[in-house]
C-alpha cells in the first residue's frame, strides 16, 4: 500500500510544468519516430540517451515514457495510410487499417487506433501501478542464486521467442562478448583488452547502444530510394482529414465491444511481462483472439475495425507489462525497456529487485508519466494535431537522417569524450548492419549487453558462497522456481510462437501484395 501511495505521489511531480514539458517533448518525438517507417521509439530513446547525462533522472525517465508510449502508437499512422507499418508492432494494423483507408475510412481507423491505444496504454499503466508493489515484495525474496536463475530464464526465453534460435544465440553471444571487455566484475583483472589501455574501462553502454541501433540503421536507410519513398509518402499527405473525422461514434465502439478492449489490454500486458516477447507478439495474439471471438470473422483481413482495435490496444498495453520485470527484477521486457534500463545505468542505478525499494521516490513519476501519456496526451494530441499526423511522413528524409547521423556520433562523444569509443560505435554499427541484413535479431544482443555482466556476477558469487557447489541453484527455492519456469516456457512458448509466425507470414504477404 505504501508503494502505491508513493507512486500516486509521483503525480505531483508529473504535473509540474517542466515535467509536462519533458513528457510532451518525449511524446512528440515518439510520434514522429514511430510514424516514420524505419525509425522506431527505441531509436528515439537511443538518441536521447547521451542527452540524459546532464538532466535529472526523473525528467529523463518521464521523457522516455512519452517516447515509448507514443512511438508504439504512432506506428499505426503510416500502417493505415500507406500500408507501411511505422513500427514493427503495427503490422496487424496494416492488414485491417489499409483496406479501411481504401474505403475512405482512414481517419476513422486512426481514431479507433488512438482510442484503442489510449485504453490499452491506460489499463497497462494502471496494472503496472497496482502490480508493482506485489512484484517488489516477491522480488525481494530472491537471493543471489535465484537472481542468476532469473537472468538465465530471461536470456533463454529471449532466444526461445525468436524465430531463428541459432541466430538469436549468436546475437546474444556477441552482446555478451562485448560486455565482458574491460575489468572483471569480481577481481581487479582486465579482460580482452589486447594491450589497449582504451579498453580497460570496457566499452561504454552508450557506445554499444548507439552503434548497434542508430548507426547500423543509418547504413540500412542509406539504401532507400529517395524518389520512391517520396512517391509513397506523397500519397499519404495528399489526404485531408478534419478533426471530427477522427473520432469514432459510441455506437461503433459498442459494436467493437468492451470485452475486445479489456481482453486485448490484458493480453498485451501479460505478453509484455515476458522477456523479449514485445509489442509485435502482443498485437498478433490479441488479433488472433479478436478474430476467434468475433461475430464477423469473415471481415478480418478486409478492414475489420475490431481486429485493428485489438492489435493497437494490445501493443500499447504491452508498455506497462514490459516495465514490470524491468523495474521489479531488472529484466527488460523488450528492446525499448532494455534501452530505458540503459538510461538508469547511465545514472549509476544497478538494475535488480531492490531498485524500487531504494529509488521509489525517483521512479514513481515515471509510472504516472506512462499513465498520463496514454490517458491524456494520446486523445488530446489526436484532437489537436490529428490532421497534421499525415504530414509527418513529409519530413525531409535527408535532413532527418543527416541530423540523426550527427546526433548519434556526437552522442557517443558526449557520453564518453573519447574518439576511440566513437570508432568502436562505428565498428559495432557495421557489424550490426550485416547482422540485420541477415535477419539476426537485435533484442537478444541488447539484453545480453545489459544482463550478461549481471549473469556472470551472480553465477560466480553464488558458487563462491556455496564453495563451488552447483547444487545451490536447485536447493534454493527461488532459484529452483525460475529453473522450472525456464523449462516450462521453453516447452510452451515455441508452440505459441508457431501460430503467431504463421499469422505474421500471412500478414506480410498481404501487406506486400497491396503496397
Amino acid at each position: 500500500m505504501d508503494q502505491i501511495l508513493q507512486i500516486l505521489a509521483g503525480t505531483s511531480v508529473v504535473f509540474q510544468p517542466l515535467s509536462l514539458l519533458y513528457l510532451s517533448v518525449g511524446f512528440f518525438i515518439g510520434i514522429i519516430f514511430g510514424a516514420l517507417p524505419g525509425l522506431t521509439s527505441m531509436l528515439a530513446i537511443v538518441l536521447l540517451l547521451p542527452m540524459t547525462y546532464t538532466m535529472p533522472m526523473t525528467y529523463a525517465l518521464i521523457m522516455c515514457m512519452g517516447v515509448y508510449m507514443a512511438g508504439i502508437y504512432s506506428g499505426s499512422i503510416t500502417a493505415i495510410t500507406i500500408n507501411i507499418p511505422g513500427a514493427p508492432s503495427a503490422l496487424m494494423t496494416c492488414v485491417e487499417g489499409y483496406p479501411l483507408m481504401q474505403r475512405g475510412l482512414g481517419a476513422k481507423a486512426i481514431g479507433h487506433a488512438t482510442i484503442g491505444s489510449a485504453i490499452g496504454g491506460t489499463i497497462g499503466a494502471l496494472l503496472l501501478i497496482f502490480v508493482s508493489p506485489l512484484a517488489i515484495k516477491l522480488a525481494l525474496q530472491i537471493r543471489t542464486p535465484g537472481k542468476f536463475s532469473l537472468i538465465l530464464f530471461a536470456l533463454i526465453i529471449i532466444v526461445v521467442v525468436e524465430k531463428n534460435k541459432t541466430k538469436a544465440i549468436i546475437s546474444m553471444a556477441f552482446g555478451i562478448m562485448l560486455s565482458t571487455v574491460g575489468m572483471d566484475p569480481l577481481k581487479s583483472v582486465s579482460r580482452f583488452t589486447f594491450g589497449n589501455p582504451n579498453l580497460i574501462e570496457g566499452i561504454d553502454l552508450t557506445t554499444l547502444i548507439i552503434g548497434a541501433f542508430a548507426i547500423s540503421e543509418l547504413f540500412d536507410q542509406s539504401t532507400v530510394n529517395n524518389a520512391e519513398y517520396q512517391k509513397k509518402t506523397n500519397a499519404a499527405s495528399a489526404y485531408k482529414f478534419k478533426r471530427r473525422d477522427f473520432f469514432p461514434s459510441l455506437a461503433e465502439m459498442k459494436e467493437i465491444g468492451a470485452m475486445t478492449y479489456l481482453k486485448s489490454s490484458l493480453t498485451g500486458y501479460v505478453i509484455g511481462i515476458l522477456p523479449g516477447a514485445g509489442a509485435s507478439m502482443a498485437a498478433f495474439v490479441a488479433y488472433v483472439e479478436a478474430k476467434r471471438t468475433s461475430k464477423h470473422p469473415e471481415r478480418f483481413g478486409d478492414g475489420a475495425m475490431d481486429g485493428l482495435v485489438a492489435a493497437e490496444t494490445a501493443n500499447n498495453a504491452m508498455c506497462g507489462g514490459a516495465l514490470v520485470p524491468m523495474l521489479s527484477l531488472g529484466i527488460p521486457g523488450d528492446g525499448t525497456t532494455a534501452i530505458i534500463l540503459g538510461v538508469l545505468m547511465v545514472y549509476g542505478v544497478v538494475p535488480g529487485p531492490d531498485l524500487l525499494v531504494k529509488q521509489m521516490h525517483v521512479m514513481a513519476p515515471m509510472y504516472m508519466a506512462l499513465l498520463v501519456a496514454a490517458a491524456v496526451l494520446m486523445p488530446l494530441s489526436l484532437f489537436l494535431f490529428g490532421p497534421y499526423y499525415l504530414k509527418i511522413v513529409k519530413i525531409n528524409r535527408l535532413v532527418l537522417y543527416s541530423s540523426i547521423g550527427l546526433i548519434a556520433i556526437l552522442g557517443v562523444y558526449a557520453a564518453t569524450y573519447s574518439a576511440f569509443q566513437m570508432a568502436i560505435a562505428l565498428v559495432i554499427g557495421v557489424i550490426m548492419y550485416f547482422f540485420k541484413k541477415q535477419k539476426y535479431p537485435n533484442v537478444p544482443f541488447i539484453l545480453a549487453v545489459i544482463l550478461g555482466p549481471l549473469c556472470e556476477e551472480y553465477l560466480r558469487t553464488s558458487l563462491t558462497l556455496s564453495n563451488g557447489n552447483p547444487l545451490v541453484f536447485i536447493t534454493n527455492f527461488d532459484s529452483l522456481f525460475f529453473l522450472l519456469l525456464t523449462v516450462a516456457f521453453a516447452i510452451l512458448l515455441p508452440r505459441a510462437n508457431r501460430r503467431a509466425e504463421l499469422l505474421e507470414t500471412e500478414a506480410n504477404c498481404k501487406t506486400k501484395g497491396t503496397v
Binding site: 541466430k167 549468436i170 577481481k187 583483472v189 580482452f192 547521423g405 546526433i407 556526437l410 562523444y413 566513437m422
Partner: protein
C-alpha cells in the same frame, strides 16, 4: 550481372567470422586463467561457457549458409546472378570514419557542417540542390550545437581550442 563467389556472402561470412571471434575470445580467456581455480570459477569461466554455447550455433549457421549457397549455385548453374548492390552504406561508413578521425583535430565547427552535407549527398539519389544542402547542413549543425553545447553543456573539440 556476374558477382562474387556465392560462398562469400554474409550468410556464410557472419557465422564464420563469429566462429573465428569465438576462438580468439576463448584463447584469450584461457591465457588469463583456467576456468576453475581451486574449485572456484575464475575470470575465464564465463567466456568459456559463452564459447561452448555459441560455437554449436555458429557452426550450424555456417553449415546452413553453405547449404543455401550450394543450392543457389546449383540452381543458377555455376554462376550466381544477383542484384546490383548499393555502395551507399560503404560511403556512409567512410564519411563517419573520416569524421571520427578528424574530429579531435578539426573540431565541431569545421567538421559538423561538412559531415551533414556529405551525409545528405550520399542519402540523396543524385547530387542535386547543392546550395539547399549547404544551408541545411549549416542549420542542422547550429541546432545540434545549441542542443549539445548550450542546453546540455557538452564541450566539443574546436579547431581554435
Amino acid at each position: 550481372m556476374k558477382t562474387t563467389n556465392p560462398y562469400l556472402q554474409s550468410r556464410v561470412i557472419i557465422p564464420a567470422c563469429m566462429q573465428i571471434a569465438l576462438i580468439i575470445y576463448v584463447i584469450s580467456a584461457l591465457q588469463m586463467a583456467p576456468p576453475i581455480v581451486k574449485g572456484m570459477l575464475s575470470e575465464s569461466s564465463f567466456p568459456v561457457m559463452i564459447f561452448l554455447i555459441a560455437t554449436p550455433a555458429a557452426i550450424k549457421q555456417l553449415l546452413d549458409g553453405l547449404k543455401a549457397s550450394k543450392k543457389e549455385l546449383a540452381e543458377a548453374k555455376a554462376e550466381t546472378v544477383t542484384k546490383k548492390k548499393s555502395i551507399k552504406p560503404v560511403l556512409t561508413v567512410v564519411i563517419m570514419a573520416a569524421f571520427i578521425l578528424l574530429f579531435p583535430i578539426l573540431g565541431f565547427a569545421v567538421l559538423a557542417p561538412l559531415y551533414v552535407f556529405f551525409f545528405m549527398l550520399v542519402y540523396d539519389d543524385k547530387p542535386q540542390y547543392i546550395l539547399k544542402k549547404i544551408i541545411y547542413a549549416l542549420l542542422i549543425s547550429a541546432v545540434v550545437y545549441v542542443l549539445y553545447v548550450i542546453v546540455f553543456d557538452i564541450r566539443f573539440p574546436q579547431i581554435w581550442r
